[in-house]
């Protein structure tokens, strides 16, 4: 759908390139109206004086009209009452004080883009330049607690959709002159503002170069979420693993920046991307550093176990009960065998049925309208928990396996990597059903090989395990106390 509609259109080549800013104020406004198709929210007003005239033009809702009326218009009026615009633009911009940034351009298309981005355009009679008063101001969601990444201890602020707000959230955490925001425009059609955030001197230069060049070269007509951007920035290939971390939390981004990583944010998305990501970083939360080190280490272990369970438990169950019954303790085997008596499907089919049912329930739980929620959960609980067993469709053991798997898959702090475990679980189940533990081993080995070959922004994904670095083990599976590491960050030599 999207692809079909996106013919090569952009606001710039929609306009006639021959258009220029003329000396006639009214004609300028007519041209804008023509280019934008006489939009209902275009507000313009001409102010005429004896010797001169000026016009203000903006799009309603993108600027602060209050600012405009209180400070911009009166000062303009004062100036033009006494002066002639013929004295030149330079004069004007030096003497008048508008509260916000004042740019000038003589290029019509640049002016038009600025208008669409929320600048107020000022035309002056007999001037061939337009003045861009950049005073964007629009309605945003207020800062709320991030809903996808909650924590017990830690700041409650989450990013919002407005880039300007998000950047302040980071600035407030890192009060350092070396903090850099580098902006890009991505999307031929949407012309979306994208920002790369890093700390000069600390950031991994090569990763920064990779990220910047990939953003510059990204060929997309539209992006609406950092998820779309992520696909453009990541290495090409069919990896099931995410290679950039996404987060809603400014504290996570700030922590990553101080570690020499970079963050990518864009207008319209509350999710920031952090790179280069390592596999291990998907198991570390910001909260790990807010809690005591022993507790955090324990919790990290739990997350690893949970990931493994979410990935391999159903497959292991299938493999053990259909190929390697000798590995199950006798008493457990007997009780499993008792549960399997008289069941119609083989274990793999059972597992697939239950996993699919669960995935459906989960998807339904996300998509359904809020008021229907309880209905779905009641039906789901009965279907998965009770009825399927009582009806002799599946064994109680597989219900335990599936629910354990489900719970474990929610224990991961990052939704994206939990998603990879979710997909690969099914593949692993197929391997387990055809070749038992041997199949599980084969697939796990394939994944291992794949993981060590992955790169995130040019950096190895499995670092610091492969390549191994003893130094960096201080904060991987185990989080050692803060006082183990030297407090001072070593700054790189200035380039």
């Amino acid at each position: 759908m999207w692809r079909k509609n996106s013919k090569n259109v952009s606001p710039t080549n929609q306009t006639d390139t021959t258009l220029t800013i003329t000396e006639d104020v009214e004609q300028n406004i007519e041209q804008i109206k023509h280019c934008l198709g006489d939009p209902f929210d275009l507000v313009y007003k001409e102010y005429k004086f004896k010797r001169t005239a000026f016009a203000l033009c903006y799009i309603d809702g993108l600027i602060s009209t209050e600012d405009l009326e209180r400070t911009v218009i009166p000062s303009l009026m004062d100036w033009f009452k006494e002066n002639d615009s013929s004295s030149g633009a330079r004069d004007f911009s030096q003497h008048i004080q508008v509260p916000k940034k004042l740019n000038t351009t003589s290029d019509f298309s640049i002016m038009l883009t600025a208008l669409l981005r929320g600048s107020t355009i000022l035309f002056i009679k007999k001037g061939t330049e337009a003045f861009l008063i950049s005073d964007q101001h629009w309605e945003t969601r207020s800062i709320e607690e991030p809903s996808s990444q909650t924590m017990v201890r830690g700041p409650r602020e989450g990013f919002v959709e407005a880039l300007a707000v998000n950047s302040t959230l980071i600035r407030r955490r890192i009060t350092n002159p070396r903090l850099r925001f580098k902006s890009f425009i991505v999307g031929e059609m949407t012309q979306t503002m994208v920002m790369v955030i890093y700390i000069e001197g600390l950031v991994n230069e090569s990763a920064l170069n990779v990220a910047c060049s990939r953003i510059t070269n990204a060929k997309a007509s539209e992006i609406f979420e950092t998820g779309m951007l992520e696909e453009l920035i990541e290495d090409k290939g069919y990896s099931p693993f995410p290679t950039l971390i996404d987060t809603e939390r400014p504290d996570v981004v700030s922590a990553a920046l101080t570690e020499g990583k970079l963050a990518i944010m864009m207008e319209g998305s509350p999710f920031a991307l952090i790179g280069p990501a390592t596999f291990i970083s998907y198991f570390q939360t910001a909260e790990d550093y807010y809690n005591r080190f022993d507790l955090s280490t324990f919790l990290r272990m739990i997350r690893f176990i949970a990931f493994w369970i979410a990935f391999a438990l159903p497959a292991t169950y299938v493999a053990l009960t259909t190929f390697h019954q000798e590995l199950i303790p006798t008493d457990l085997l007997i009780s499993l065998a008792a549960q399997r008596e008289g069941l119609p499907f083989p274990a793999i089919v059972e597992a697939l049925i239950m996993e699919t049912v669960f995935e459906i329930l989960r998807e339904a739980g996300i998509r359904m309208p809020r008021p229907i929620g309880p209905a779905v959960s009641i039906v789901g609980a009965i279907v998965i928990g009770e009825a399927a067993v009582t009806a002799g469709l599946v064994s109680p053991a597989i219900v335990i396996v599936v629910s354990l798997t489900a719970i474990a898959s929610f224990a991961n702090p990052y939704y994206s990597i939990a998603g990879s475990a979710r997909i690969m679980r099914f593949v692993l189940m197929l391997f387990a059903a055809t070749a038992g533990i041997f199949g599980i081993l084969i697939f796990t080995l394939i994944l291992c090989i794949h993981l060590v070959s992955l790169r995130s922004l040019g950096e190895p994904y499995m670092s610091p395990f492969a390549p191994f670095s003893m130094k960096k083990q201080k904060d991987t599976v185990v989080r050692f106390p803060m006082w183990w590491s030297k407090r001072k960050k070593r700054w790189k030599q200035e380039a």
């Binding site: 009960t321 019954q325 007997i334 008596e341």
Partner: protein, 400 residues
């Protein structure tokens, strides 16, 4: 290259085709095997299989408590292999061997046919581990043992396995004797094997029915560990008494760390019961010239459990006396048991093997005259255990 990988995975999944896959409800989970003499020189194999439907707790059990927790199936054949094959004629499920925990051999079979055929089959079978326990059914058949519903446990096999595993039995064997032990002794170490024995407590009652479990008298269905069964090569020849079994266990270091022992008083009637602890036992045979000596040294301490002798434990003298009594009795017991072995001309203490390993030169010279050498072997025992604790009391009822 990508195509090659894709081909590899697909062939793994589709050509593999789930071969070797078995669902749990297609398996007959065996817990034990019994082997007996059948009719016409046949071998009779008894399989004990669990009945999962009856053993599982909870609602899914289906049949529930009305069914027996285990079933036994008997099958005969010219040899063990044939008997096992023939079993498939009467079973609707595939025999599943890996969970076998014990093997019971009937006394008659062990005396007449020996264990070589069984050990070969069972060791060769890829599904069977060698680490299960061996039992000889004393004065009865293996099927009789397997066909018993024991109190407290789900099956007789589980029962006899736990008899060995749970500490505190008279002979105090630490791990039980496994098939691999037997095979090692018989074929590797050139020593005569012993195997744990098991018997029915009351031989008359029929315990093959769950009804019998409704009676309060547990003894009727109970199984009991006996002294060790003694083998000459593959054949059962004799049974060791409890005392000799205990001595065997101690000398071979197979003993549990804590061990019950009872000795009589010196003069008066009465006994002393105590727990031997932290025993350090050294048993070393040695050839010097033409003389073989066997030195047994025991060190350790004991906790007094009960005493009906007139010994005043509050005095130093009394304690020494108690220790003396225990030491001499232990020495005598050990001495007697080794002498018994000499009388039988069976080397179940592994003396040959020890000499072969530690004095290879002397052993080369002496091995031809082994029988006379063994018969004239001198035994020295030296037991030195001391009282660690008299228990919660020091006084003595018997004091006058």
């Amino acid at each position: 290259m990508k195509n090659f990988y894709a081909l590899f995975f697909f062939s793994l999944i589709f050509l593999g085709g789930c071969s070797g896959q078995e669902e749990l409800d297609e398996l007959l989970i065996l817990t034990g095997i019994g082997i007996d003499q059948g009719d016409d020189q046949n071998v009779k194999v008894t399989f004990q299989a669990t009945n999962p439907q009856a053993q599982a707790g909870g609602e899914s059990g289906g049949g529930g408590a009305s069914q027996a927790t285990s079933y036994t199936f008997e099958s005969e054949g010219e040899d063990v292999v044939a008997a096992v094959f023939n079993a498939n004629n009467l079973l609707s499920r595939k025999l599943f061997f890996p969970h076998i925990s014990s093997l019971v051999v009937g006394e008659d079979y062990a005396r007449e046919n020996g264990l070589h055929e069984i050990s070969d089959f069972l060791e060769r079978h890829y599904e069977i581990r060698d680490s299960y326990m061996l039992f000889i059914a004393k004065e009865t058949t293996a099927s009789d043992i397997l066909n018993t519903f024991p109190p407290l446990d789900n099956s007789s096999i589980q029962n006899i396995k736990r008899l060995v595993e749970v500490p505190g039995s008279t002979i105090g064997l630490k791990d039980g004797i496994e098939l691999e032990d037997f095979i090692r002794w018989r074929y590797g170490d050139d020593r005569d094997a012993v195997i744990t024995g098991v018997e029915r407590v009351t031989k008359e009652t029929d315990s093959s029915n769950t009804e019998s479990l409704n009676e309060i008298e547990g003894n009727k269905n109970a199984l009991r560990l006996t002294g060790l069964a003694l083998f000459d090569k593959d054949y059962l020849v004799d049974w060791l008494s409890y005392k000799d079994s205990v001595a065997w266990v101690m000398i071979n270091g197979e003993s549990e760390t804590v061990k019950n022992y009872t000795v009589p008083c010196r003069d008066s009637k009465g006994t002393i019961g105590f727990l031997l602890k932290e025993m350090d036992i050294k048993a070393k045979p040695k050839i010097e010239g033409d003389q073989l000596t066997y030195m047994i040294q025991v060190r350790g301490h004991f906790n007094l459990q009960g005493m009906t002798c007139k010994i005043d434990l509050s005095t130093d003298k009394g304690v020494t006396e108690l220790q003396d009594i225990i030491n001499t009795n232990l020495e005598e017991d050990l001495q007697t048991s080794v002498e018994n072995a000499q009388d039988l001309n069976l080397d179940y203490f592994g003396i040959k093997n020890y000499l072969f390993k530690n004095q290879p030169n002397q052993w080369e010279k002496a091995k031809d005259d082994w029988e006379s050498l063994y018969a004239q072997m001198e035994i020295t025992t030296e037991v030195d255990v001391y009282l660690e604790s008299p228990g919660a009391r020091v006084g003595n009822n018997e004091e006058s």
